[in-house]
């Protein structure tokens, strides 16, 4: 089920909410948890019930392994070491991901290298497998290190399946989630949390349905016609995708955080105005923050620990390897590997830059960072290297410049230099509105506060002074505008980009 659908907003979410708190009100806490599991599995199955057994098997397996690891020291009948159990668990999880997500990719590449003709399996990617597998890997590692323990299967199932974060994160840790589900205080309706939830959900819905989906039309058409783009179209295509990706994914995350807040559950922040970053290290501290935390803790740190003596060069090598893996996690394509590699390289350069304390103007630093990210997203979006290179070569080719025809009277001398005048955004199906939207996109990501910062308005005492009253009332009104804008634009239902990863 999509967050941006009538059935979710008007049926599923209200029913889940009211029944959950009704059961808690009647002190049926186990039933209320069971209700959350049931609704979450329903939410998951709405898409394709065929994968329900897969997620259930994954949950049961990981729960059993974690219980065995946790009870290892007390139970003398277990003859397998804790480490072996962890390895077994990791192999299972990675194997599951490898089979469903990477098998065809592996076969394709084997065929290319060996010249063989092994048939592809055409396995459909089960929804959310990347996210629920990562979350459970983290849980197993934490169990092994004695940081977490979960005795109840029902609680463990809530941890994995809680519907707001099940499909595309934020990636949560057991230790930050389960105390919230156990807290007695959280079993009572909390109007402050409901207000915050509605505010952030409305912003997220607007970001996704109105902003991201608008940019999507130009990005999609632009990448579909990569071979024939002129210089301005190519830049408009790449910027459109960069904005689409941010507003889409952060919009999804906002909706997830908002929906969870209704149940008094606080999910971690996932985006902190990433396009304001002035360096690659800064960017990855602001972009998909829960993934960055995961790869730092569970990939980068073990690699670094494996080195006998750590040097900056070795740490940077570990960074690049980590990002290559993170890139591949996004999907079975060399394009994602290139995306990961470029970002790892960018971070490494940023670290060396810092080490040698080279000063750079902040605006220039932002300019370089944003454009670097924009270019890496071309690889992230392109299906083939050829497509990416076509877009990039158009972005940097001055042989093919078409300016809006309304400028012809003022700039006609430019035609002597091979510059044409005409419909400048024809191949991306754009018009003057495309330029306006792109400018608005920059203003939104650079000037405005992000959704998390907007929650501050609800944390202060609104009766403080006249301006705080105005701010308080207008936040309610603008959230309503965002909700109405989002809901009344739902006619064209579209999927979230991160559902594919």
């Amino acid at each position: 089920m999509l967050f941006n659908s009538y059935e979710f907003i008007f049926v599923f979410l209200p029913i889940s909410f009211f029944v959950y708190f009704y059961l808690n009100h009647k002190r049926l806490t186990t039933a209320s948890k069971a209700w959350l599991v049931l609704t979450s599995l329903f939410f998951y199955s709405w898409w394709n019930i065929a994968y329900l057994p897969l997620i259930l098997i994954s949950i049961l397996f990981n729960y059993t392994i974690s219980r065995t690891i946790s009870g290892h020291s007390e139970n003398k009948n277990i003859f397998v070491s804790k480490k072996s159990l962890l390895k077994f668990g990791l192999v299972f999880n990675i194997g599951l991901l490898a089979y469903f997500k990477y098998m065809d990719f592996f076969i394709e590449n084997t065929n290319k290298v060996l010249g063989s003709n092994i048939e592809l399996l055409h396995i459909a990617l089960p929804l959310a497998i990347s996210f629920f597998t990562l979350q459970q890997i983290a849980f197993l590692v934490d169990s092994y290190e004695g940081l977490v323990e979960e005795k109840k299967l029902l609680d463990y199932t809530i941890f994995v399946t809680f519907f707001p974060q099940l499909i595309a994160g934020p990636i949560v840790h057991h230790k930050e989630m389960m105390p919230q589900f156990s807290s007695a205080k959280n079993k009572i309706k909390n109007y402050n949390n409901i207000a915050m939830g509605l505010l952030i959900f409305s912003i997220g819905l607007f970001k996704k349905v109105v902003i991201a989906d608008t940019f999507a039309t130009w990005a999609t058409t632009g990448f579909d016609t990569a071979a024939t783009l002129n210089l301005i179209e190519a830049w408009a295509t790449s910027f459109s995708y960069t904005f689409q990706l941010y507003f889409d994914f952060s919009g999804y995350t906002d909706m997830a955080i908002g929906a969870a807040l209704l149940f008094n559950i606080k999910l971690p922040q996932n985006f902190n105005s990433p396009y304001k970053a002035t360096g690659m290290i800064d960017f990855w501290k602001r972009w998909h923050m829960t993934l960055t935390n995961f790869i730092t803790t569970y990939i980068y740190t073990p690699i670094v620990k494996s080195f006998e003596k750590l040097t900056l060069h070795k740490a940077m090598l570990a960074t690049i390897i980590t990002f290559l893996i993170a890139g591949l996690w996004h999907g079975a394509s060399w394009m994602f590997v290139i995306f990961g590699g470029l970002n790892g390289l960018g971070i490494a350069i940023n670290h060396y830059w810092k080490k040698y304390r080279i000063k750079m103007n902040k605006i220039l630093a932002w300019f370089i960072t944003f454009n670097f990210i924009n270019i890496t997203f071309v690889f992230f979006r392109a299906k083939e290297l050829d497509d990416a290179m076509k877009v990039l070569s158009s972005m940097f080719s001055i042989d093919n410049v078409v300016l809006p025809d309304k400028l012809e009277s003022k700039l006609s001398f430019l035609s002597n230099y091979g510059i044409e005048f005409g419909w400048w955004a024809k191949d991306i199906g754009g018009n003057d509105w495309t330029a306006i939207w792109l400018i608005m996109g920059f203003v939104l990501v650079l000037v405005f506060k992000n959704s998390f910062q907007k929650l501050d308005i609800l944390k202060m005492d609104y009766k403080l002074n006249f301006f705080s009253v105005i701010a308080f009332v207008s936040s309610g009104f603008l959230s309503a505008v965002a909700l109405v804008g989002g809901v009344t634009s739902l006619n064209k239902v579209s999927e979230f980009l991160y559902f594919n990863f």
Partner: protein
């Protein structure tokens, strides 16, 4: 913090905004979805333009308007039966009276953009309902996507009631229930749409701009070559810029189009709507209408690729022949451009044949 207070403001604001949105959309209702007396009627665009067209005027500069309602109103203004009626989609908009080899005494081209069988039924129903008879001759231009159930085009549902009645007329064995209320419900739903708000808003701005004219009358088809022109026989003229396009430009456009998800051919994996087509033919023949089926050729640049991606296009043509021949229904044209030795620049774009190509096909009647 006072969450309850904020929630109250949020809910009240939501209700006010939704009400204002719906009220605005209802009041303007530029596409006449629910409010038949909306601004568009006050402004009387359809009323004025159909009157002018009925009085043999040539109208130009038409913007976005409901072609289906336009034709229905035209039919209401016909005082006598037409000798020839043309039904089709945008690929038959250039069929005109003076280009016909036969000298039809009266003629009207009722083609509408992206027409499907439902539109043909609505047109025939409206025509017969107003004149109590049918034209002596009808050309039906059939595009292959008319046989695709996955084609999302559903504007014919705006006239659900006439569609239901006509469906029942042509297929007496199967009584269709009118979904009038369902359509009305769908339209009411659109009143709450943000997208419709933007449509109405731009319509309103356009309408109240002092220089704005929703259309204007011209003396001859060539007097303003910058805008589309509609003749009194219902046929169109594209703006001049579409008539002399370079084949490179058309090729580029075709490549772009082919890379998109072509909505007309979505999920085109079987020939659907056979019954409706066969019943429609039978019905017209039973009413002594002389029916001609016209198949407009595709631009070779897209035909080559379409028949690979959607091989059913070839099957549709054979199927039409197979049904029409025993009924002695004349078929003119072909989807295959090579039968007429057509080149890329015989088309105004990747899809629409130029007038000369259409005339050449009409000569087969």
């Amino acid at each position: 913090m006072n969450g309850k207070k904020w929630i109250q403001i949020f809910i009240i604001s939501t209700l006010i905004i939704i009400s204002l949105l719906a009220l605005f959309n209802y009041k303007i209702d530029s596409l006449k979805l629910v409010n038949k007396k909306g601004l568009i009627n006050k402004n009387g665009f359809i009323e004025r333009s159909t009157t002018d067209l009925s009085n043999n005027k040539i109208i130009a500069g038409l913007g976005n308007y409901n072609e289906r309602y336009f034709n229905r109103r035209m039919f209401e203004k016909f005082t006598e039966n037409k000798d020839m009626l043309v039904l089709g989609a945008s690929r038959s908009l250039l069929v005109r009276q003076r280009n016909m080899k036969t000298d039809y005494t009266s003629f009207y081209n009722a083609s509408v953009s992206n027409a499907v069988f439902g539109d043909f039924l609505n047109m025939i129903y409206a025509y017969e309902n107003n004149l109590n008879t049918l034209p002596n001759n009808i050309i039906i231009s059939i595009d292959p996507w008319l046989f695709n159930d996955g084609n999302p085009e559903n504007r014919y549902l705006d006239m659900m009631d006439s569609f239901t009645k006509m469906s029942n007329k042509i297929d007496k064995n199967k009584s269709m229930k009118s979904n009038y209320y369902l359509t009305r419900y769908n339209n009411i739903f659109k009143i709450f749409s943000f997208e419709y708000l933007t449509v109405n808003f731009s319509y309103l701005i356009k309408t109240y701009r002092s220089s704005y004219k929703d259309y204007f009358i011209v003396d001859s088809v060539g007097s303003d070559k910058t805008v589309a022109v509609k003749e009194s026989d219902g046929s169109y003229h594209y703006p001049q810029k579409y008539n002399n396009r370079l084949s490179e430009e058309i090729t580029k456009e075709a490549n772009t189009w082919l890379k998109t998800d072509i909505s007309q051919f979505q999920n085109f994996n079987k020939i659907s709507n056979k019954k409706i087509f066969e019943n429609l033919l039978q019905y017209l023949i039973s009413k002594n209408v002389n029916v001609t089926i016209k198949l407009a050729p595709f631009n070779p640049i897209i035909y080559n690729r379409l028949i690979v991606k959607y091989p059913l296009i070839i099957e549709v043509e054979s199927y039409i022949n197979q049904i029409a021949n025993p009924l002695k229904v004349n078929i003119i044209g072909s989807y295959n451009p090579y039968k007429y030795l057509l080149k890329i620049d015989d088309f105004t774009d990747y899809m629409h044949p130029k007038e000369e190509v259409i005339n050449n096909i009409l000569n087969e009647i």
